[in-house]
Assembly symmetry: C2
Homo-oligomer: 211 residues x 2
């Protein structure tokens, strides 16, 4: 009996540490997780490899994927398409991997609409002040960029209640364990246990007395 | 900020070990869990204490509770009423306890209808054969009683897919830890994080630039 993986969408404010969480999650449990690879129409940058960082597509190729309903979600930024091809995700799910998508809120909600069993996780620092301090503390960002990120966070916060879980990133290692636990336990939701329930029913029927 | 508890309904086949799981859960974590006390119209047996094993009610008292919508769920067995009074459950939830109801499937589904945020857990042995062996192995049951319990299990299995989680009781201690983990993580579901989300939104608004 092949166990199908869970589709996990991971979102969070810029500065929430979600990139680090994903990285550690993959490092600690590479046997259970697969990271979804996005497709894009922008040109590869130095060192970016086809199928690793991105699937690189031409605009007509990308639009063909959209037309054939082969994208889980997609959006346009700065004149380029970005999106999640279904084929790769479904292949990995069928191989039994829990597939993680790191995408922004609008894409996340679109995926949940199409696949209601998707696990939506949102990660946040303990408070807005700490988020600001973390962005500021990076030291690499202009004040303008920080202000833009804080504004973006306001918009993202509006849809947190449509996520399944809100995870606080206070201590990074605790947070990674916690996220792993939530995903692991999701396998015991009855929606993912159809085979087990069927086997139980069949087993019980053998004992049923009709008198 | 007072953290409200999670309402947990725990069901399982007779012979699934759910009684032992509940007992160990309460022993290991008496600071976080409260067991719901049922009301009944049957007479107290030797040693049963009011408010500990049951709340003992007269038939008119019980029917008054029903009429005033003060029962979470109730049913009649062998001419007596049995049910879950709301008042006790709500008091314990407001005190921050996770309140556990050990009730059968029909009652469980009624509770979920009234309180959609209820966590429904169903526990089962690994297979129907193992369930049968466990019932048989108790040595105290007549074949008739065992057959009746297996028949009842067939009916209960029909609604497992309406529960949130299906937990396999293979090793009892692992199962107890697992159930505890599921309940603990439920606190991070966004439906239970309304206060945190509100605080985040308010915090972020202070940083919003309108230009």
């Amino acid at each position: 009996m092949n166990k199908k993986g869970v589709l996990v969408v991971f979102s969070g404010f810029s500065g929430s540490g979600k990139g680090t969480i994903m990285k550690k999650l993959m490092e600690n449990h590479s046997d259970t997780y697969a990271l979804s690879v996005s497709a894009t129409t922008r040109s590869p940058r130095e060192g970016e490899r086809e199928g690793i960082e991105y699937f690189f597509k031409t605009v007509p190729e990308f639009e063909e994927l959209i037309k054939n309903d082969e994208m889980l979600e997609y959006a346009q930024y700065a004149g380029n398409y970005y999106g999640t091809p279904k084929a790769y995700v479904e292949q990995k799910l069928n191989e039994g991997f829990d597939v993680i998508l790191e995408i922004e809120t609008q894409g996340a909600l679109k995926v949940k609409e199409k696949y209601p069993d998707t696990l939506l996780l949102f990660v946040t620092p303990p408070s807005a002040d700490i988020l600001y301090d973390r962005l500021k503390g990076r030291g690499t960002e202009e004040d303008d960029v920080i202000a833009k990120r804080m504004n973006q966070a306001v918009n993202e916060a509006k849809v947190i209640d449509r996520y399944d879980y809100l995870v606080i990133n206070d201590d990074i290692n605790e947070c990674v364990s916690h996220v792993h636990e939530i995903i692991k336990n999701t396998h015991d939701r009855t929606v993912f246990k159809a085979d087990t329930i069927e086997a139980l029913k069949n087993g019980l029927n053998k004992y049923q007395r009709r008198d």
